[in-house]
Symmetry: C2
Subunit: 220 residues, 2 copies
């Protein structure tokens, strides 16, 4: 800290800013988050120490603590960011789709699948490590998750109200759509036979079958 | 951090059999598995030591090692048992339902949902800790999981072949049905408003909508 530091301090690592000479702080933070994500995926939050994260990121433990006060803070940041990005992508998909319920639901499903094929690690941690967030952080993430779920429910309910969907259980159906598309992250392989867009289209079709799209107005 | 079994061994308590005097070995094993499940759910496999499991089970570490050579062996046993039980329940449901594809699919979905509302902890670990099984054990669990998935695909394919289901993507639809019903374990609350049977019925109906049941033969 000061120039008259105790002998122990003399052997302490240089302050983080000097240590990261030439590297913008934002890049170090990103590197730490990526490292934490890799560690959490491999060994879980409780199986990972801040030392593991620092090693994976190629920096010192004190450097890691300079950017994040705890591994819990990194976990929160990862979860909040991925859920906020998901919500933003869904909002954009709604805007592009316009008010037609079937188009809107299909657009939501496509956007949901595309995020989950592209960000599988974050999705896995986002679903397996909710238990590891403290109460305040969990509440903040849940607000975002609820907002995501509400978009699907609103789309299904709008279709039912318009007579476009023949769906006796809108709430349960909206949840089923969210969970089956979230689960894409658990099995999708980028080196497999199907492109993310193909899978997204299949799930949009399945969602429309689930809500009975078209059956409401044009049924027998 | 790591399971520090060796130091504990040095202070070895009385042999397990004497220590468990009066308690059948099967009950100790069950207690250890339940304890491990609770620990894995709370902190993940890598965040749990054999010492944690023994403490939770109320026995010594050496006692725990007498029954299971490692925490990996307990994890495997938990995963194999729950998946084998799921497969057995699905087989029984198929037998009761008979050959009609819609009845058969609905019965499979009901059985799948009922297991996942009743065994949420094992389901969570079964899906979040596949990463923690060694290769041989993972392969053995995957054989069982593939058998479960194959039952759903066979039911969907049979309905399509019979002209009972109008389903352009049987493989993808069967997978969506498995994942949306598996996910019930992540949100179902036993103290919530819906009984397991109600949820099971809703998911059976949704599965039949997904496969276009009735639309094949009786469509416009």
């Amino acid at each position: 800290m000061s120039a008259t530091a105790a002998p122990e301090r003399a052997r302490a690592p240089a302050p983080p800013v000097a240590e990261a000479a030439g590297e913008p702080a934002g890049e170090v933070e990103t590197r730490l988050r990526r490292a934490a994500l890799a560690c959490f995926v491999a060994k879980g939050f409780h199986g990972t120490s801040m030392r593991d994260v620092a090693r994976e990121a190629g920096c010192s433990v004190s450097h890691a603590y300079y950017y994040y006060p705890s591994k819990g803070a990194i976990l929160f940041r990862l979860m909040r960011d991925i859920t906020a990005e998901l919500d933003a992508r869904l909002a954009a998909a709604e805007d592009r789709a316009g008010p037609d319920p079937a188009r809107r639901l299909a657009a939501l499903v496509r956007a949901h699948v595309l995020l989950h094929t592209g960000r599988q690690d974050e999705s896995f941690i986002g679903n397996s490590e909710l238990r590891s967030l403290d109460a305040d952080r969990l509440a903040e993430v849940m607000v975002l998750r609820d907002r995501v779920a509400a978009r699907f429910l609103a789309a299904v309910a709008a279709g039912v109200a318009a007579g476009d969907f023949a769906c006796p259980t809108p709430r349960e159906t909206a949840r089923a759509i969210v969970t089956m598309t979230t689960a894409v992250a658990t099995w999708y392989r980028a080196d497999g036979p199907q492109s993310p867009e193909t899978v997204a289209g299949q799930y949009a079709d399945m969602a429309l079958r689930l809500v009975g799209a078209g059956a409401g107005k044009d049924g027998p």
